[in-house]
Symmetry: C2
Subunit: 727 residues, 2 copies
């Protein structure tokens, strides 16, 4: 074949492959009886099957993995397959969706009923009217609609006239990455770089907003990699080549190539798959098998598919295409009264902000907002049983909608399990000083709810961990693969003192670029009811008066109740520390302290970008670590409802600057977890997990230690185990 | 009986009891064959016995719990019983120890050989000469001696002429608490407060140093509690009563009583013992049994009683009366070369500082330095198997010396176990964007070394957690019982706005006083050898030049190598962040980065007391979170060798201010973990564990991810378990 014909052949093959992929994605993961019994795809079921003989009864009621028959039981249950199909039917009769240019559903989820109604709803009550919230694009315009499933009425929601576009559909991302192949210049550039088109993998990179050129059309930047010799193509960037694509027309708008002299990094030692390691006899076995075992089964149940009941906790759990996991109506049982008490009405990862620290042409725009641009839930893949979660995990599926409204199932998207690290929930031993014989310790067992989003290269593991002492730990682990930059350097001795690599040389010709990660959580606290206040308990140095004490100084706690939002814009300060309480001012403990929970920051990082830098304007919700807003149903997404290419007019920072009253009101707490990441060689070719977390912790919520009365472990309670091979 | 006779009777009974206790403590825990086979005292052995039938061979070689026959195998092995007895024999022939007034050994431990010799020593080499380091008091003078066990030579060590006294002996603490009973005024005060002398429990509270009155004699303050109706006497303080006692003469120097109007808090709901909960049928069972199981046994061995070998790690572990745990010569195996590489020559908790925030008469002096005053190891009690550590734990004993030189064994003082939380050591899933079928995740298993010190009321759980990716996490958990203050208030509505409680009303008449905890770790890093440098990798905002980029700003890493100690006095700054690397400037990776480890701070707190406040002068090692000093064998204890009543002339802050060169030298890193603790009702009557930690993490130490090649879990590797009851 002539080169020209080869090119044509390759392009046609690729287009065919693309069409096949697209077709597959129109009907992704359609549940199918045969599939559901296949252990390769659904090994979770098989695990439980293996364990059933150990148990008198299965740990969970036999689950309907056939989601076609799902029905909602709780006002917050996600839309079922039947309901999603109903919505599609209703929409298809609307004039708007009959346009010849077609339409795309960018979001189709339950429109949660009014909070007041949900709070008053009890099991056994008739279900509240079911509605869908739809974000659709048709004729180049974004529409936000409410669809009433009972009366089939469609109403338009007012959203204000902000810049920005809805979350991308998976179809947007896939078509964007295929678009450059229609461009002959692009194809010849790829060949000039020494990459076969069959080895090409491209990523859709959100363009952000930097001015006029990112306004009035949906744009995306496509960058490509070579998959030759490795599954870890991320380590083989075709550096400096950026293709600007119109997301609606699929046109190539512009190709920028500033990296033609930069070599393609090698494939050697980049593949991380076990199959590849095995093939090369490189396996490194360091540890004997280890497992968390519960001989009497788990201590939790999941009622009606979504209501988790564990130890002294109860909460509603669902998958969400944008947030990933939504925890609702978390309540903890008071050990004295036996009553379930409200803690958190709704908690979820509202937005992420991931700015890379390289101002050059092919990198400056990399300032991702993963939830609002890509969908934190859409990018959450099925978890790997035994490795993403321990053997004793229970799995929950996500039911989402494709761009054309077809429902699909993301199986095993969430896992729920009990964890026991060997840690101690409380202890005390008397020491020889008193000579008393006391030794008391209690094991610490927690319940973990987990998802893992793979937003292209990066993996975010999000855990909601519930403790019996009332604490909720929200933990984010970062793993996956670095976004790297190719370079002509293969050793640091070639790099001049004044030269900036914007990162670390990780391997020959590979730089790990410095970046930050921010994850902002929406935490609608309802401490024993909706009307709460935010209190900054400031720890202040107090000098003693002359003669008052041999001490010159001590620390004093000064309580400041926030009146309005600006009082609750908190930048953490190590040398002017505070505790941050959400209290119910109307409810006091027996000795008169207001009941509350505090947010306890863990290791954290603050965004240091210029406040006027366009990415920081869009990511302005990271300007403080803590914010408190009055509850407003429309203020769910910290970066705004329409984040894609937005200018940042609809962020949490804008809302908070309205400075509304927040004292003794229904309030929402926002907390941002931050990470600075200077890559190191250990992050190559795949990163060991780095974790950070924060806690929601009871503070005078209970009258006393709520787990005072739990028993210790006894040998006779624990299982007798044999190596599997010996059975 | 007349009241006067009753008093005399009680006093005599108590004195008799005291003599019995003291006698018992002269020979504490003398190992005895019968004891060691008793499951009640040594249930750890029994656990392993129970498990042996599951395993082809015992998980560990049968251990010599009869420590009388122990012999040292490694230059850093602690003194054995035989060696301790030899030291006692040698000392008893010295004139100094023949004084009629007697003597007390405040410390008797191995004098570690010179670092250079230890580093060069290899298994099979003759053991280095064994020496003991002794701190003794005789004739009112403190002596620091070196005893050569081979030639029986005793030499005096130069220590400088600093204020302060050695660590208290357990006998000091016990005699101090008995001393007030010799005072009739004290006894009548106790009776006036409505407390029977038989119900009295007293605590020895280090006096600190505040000026002339704490100079030239060893002093302690004794405060007392009622044990009536509860094992948790800490909740029943006889408030405001402080007895100043001379530690050497056992005289009562002064009694201060400022609390006669303050009621004794009630005993109700304070007892936390399971036996007490059971008696009242109050048990709260929330969780089914759960256990970490290793069907093929642990993945570690302990050679020669002290050399721990696990996965890719090897380190020397021993108990120490002052530090608790000492980790030495921690080395990690390079996955490429297979060689063991040095990371940490020596790591331990060097000092604690726990200032309470109440300047009043009975509280101002409570500014504990638990390691140097009480002995962090001396206060580490035997761990409770199954509850302080999981079932798969291995236990190690401490062998210490009593004040008269008699060796004794603290059994099960340290536990070592593998932990598996269900967490992920690394993962990546390909998402629909690329359409590739990749799902890889690896379970995370760690090795934990744990001790728990009960310094009277408070419990500190110290974990050294080793990860296969080269990270060491140093974690401190706080549990145990608050030091509380009695008050006449039983509800916050009685407390005026201007009134300071110095804490939180936890229950009727009980205030939890605000306090801080600081734990300063000595970390003698040896990254691939002793000569290292400390690098502050500062993350700085960089503005772009006009026209350079659509971005206005980005973050840049700027490396600053510390030349002298003052360059390495680090106050953490959230808004001017840095990474803190210890590198080996002479060793580079393949691509030319210097090999290193970084210290990664976790949640932290800074001491905010006035720098001129006497407690802060003594605790000046908390003035920065990070310090780096050149290695100096005598600089082990951050608060000074003689901490008790010291003025702070010999602290880490003083050493560091000498500003010695530290570039490319053998250096020691010091890190302080901090906690502010405003008590809350959940801390009553016993505190749920609060944890903080920091990490030592490889940074360009390995050429790439060192655990790339570990296998995932497979179902066939995991155990088959049955409930114990069904066997």
């Amino acid at each position: 074949m002539e080169p020209r014909n080869l090119l044509r052949f390759l392009f046609l093959s690729f287009s065919l492959a693309l069409v096949l992929i697209l077709t597959w994605f129109q009907l992704p993961d359609q549940p199918n009886k045969a599939d559901l019994l296949d252990c390769n795809d659904n090994s979770q079921l098989c695990i439980f099957k293996n364990r059933f003989h150990l148990l008198k009864k299965p740990p969970f009621p036999t689950r309907r993995r056939q989601h076609e028959l799902d029905t909602p039981h709780h006002p917050l249950d996600p839309l079922t397959i039947q309901e999603l199909n109903t919505v599609r039917t209703i929409l298809s009769s609307q004039a708007l969706f009959k346009s010849s240019s077609g339409y795309a559903l960018h979001s189709l989820v339950l429109q949660e009923p009014e909070k007041r109604l949900v709070v008053n709803w009890k099991k056994g009550d008739p279900l509240l009217p079911r509605k869908a919230s739809v974000i659709a694009r048709a004729n180049g315009i974004s529409h936000v609609l409410t669809v009433d499933l009972a009366n089939h009425q469609v109403t338009v929601q007012e959203t204000g006239s902000f810049s920005g576009y809805p979350i991308m559909t998976l179809e947007d991302m896939i078509t964007a990455t295929g678009a450059p192949l229609a461009d002959a210049d692009f194809n010849s550039t790829i060949l000039q770089r020494g990459v076969d088109l069959t080895d090409l993998a491209c990523l859709p990179i959100s363009s952000g907003w930097y001015g006029k050129s990112e306004e009035n059309r949906r744009l995306i930047k496509v960058q490509c990699y070579s998959t030759k010799g490795t599954a870890n193509f991320y380590m083989r960037p075709i550096e400096g080549l950026t293709v600007l694509v119109d997301l609606d027309t699929k046109e190539v708008v512009e190709i920028s190539d500033k990296g033609s002299n930069i070599p393609l990094p090698k494939a050697a030692n980049t593949d991380y798959r076990y199959s590849s390691i095995q093939k090369h006899n490189q396996e490194l076995r360091l540890i004997n098998p280890i497992s968390i075992e519960q001989p009497k089964g788990p201590s939790f149940t999941i009622e009606d598919d979504h209501l988790v009941k564990w130890a002294n906790w109860e909460f509603h759990l669902k998958a969400d295409p944008r947030a990933g996991i939504i925890i609702s109506q978390a309540k903890v049982r008071d050990p004295d009264s036996g009553e379930l008490r409200n803690v958190l009405y709704k908690g979820f990862a509202s937005e992420l902000f991931v700015p890379y620290m390289d101002p050059t042409d092919a990198w400056y725009f990399k300032t991702y907002m993963d939830a609002g641009e890509y969908g934190f839930g859409l990018q959450s893949m099925s978890l790997d049983p035994l490795n993403d979660c321990p053997r004793n995990a229970y799995y929950m599926d996500g039911v989402f909608s494709a761009a054309n409204g077809t429902p699909y199932v993301r199986s095993n998207m969430i896992c729920v399990f009990e964890s026991y690290t060997g840690d101690v929930s409380w202890r005390h031993t008397e020491c020889p000083i008193t000579g008393m014989e006391v030794k008391e310790a209690r094991p610490k067992v927690t319940l973990v709810v987990r998802m893992a989003a793979s937003v292209a290269n990066y993996d975010y593991i999000v855990d909601w961990e519930f403790q019996t002492d009332g604490l909720i730990k929200i933990k984010v682990g970062l793993s996956g693969i670095l976004m790297v930059k190719a370079t002509s350097f293969d050793n640091m001795n070639q790099v001049g003192n004044q030269e900036s690599l914007y990162g670390t040389l990780l391997s020959e010709n590979v730089i790990g670029v410095i970046h930050d990660h921010y994850i902002t959580f929406h935490l609608d606290m309802d401490i024993d009811g909706s009307n709460n206040s935010f209190v900054n308990v400031n720890i202040k140095k107090q000098q003693t008066a002359p003669g008052e004490s041999p001490r010159r100084s001590y620390l004093k706690a000064v309580r400041n109740v926030a009146k309005t939002e600006k009082d609750a814009q908190v930048k953490l300060k190590l040398y002017d520390p505070s505790e941050f309480h959400v209290i119910n001012p109307s409810k006091k403990t027996r000795v008169g302290n207001p009941v509350g929970y505090k947010v306890v920051p863990g290791g954290t990082a603050a965004s240091l970008l210029d406040l006027e830098d366009p990415p920081q304007k869009r990511g302005a919700f990271t300007n403080n670590q803590i914010w408190v807003t009055p509850y407003n149903r429309s203020e769910q997404w910290a970066g705004g409802l329409f984040v894609y290419q937005s200018k940042g007019e609809d962020t949490l920072a804008v809302w908070s600057n309205r400075d509304r009253p927040i004292e003794n009101k229904d309030i929402v707490l926002w907390y941002t977890l931050g990470f600075h990441h200077i890559p190191c060689q250990e992050d190559f070719p795949i990163m060991p997990t780095v974790t950070s977390s924060f806690d929601l912790k009871p503070v005078n919520f209970f009258e006393s230690n709520p787990i005072l009365r739990i028993p210790p472990n006894f040998e006779s309670d624990l299982p007798v185990c044999k190596p599997a091979a010996s059975v």
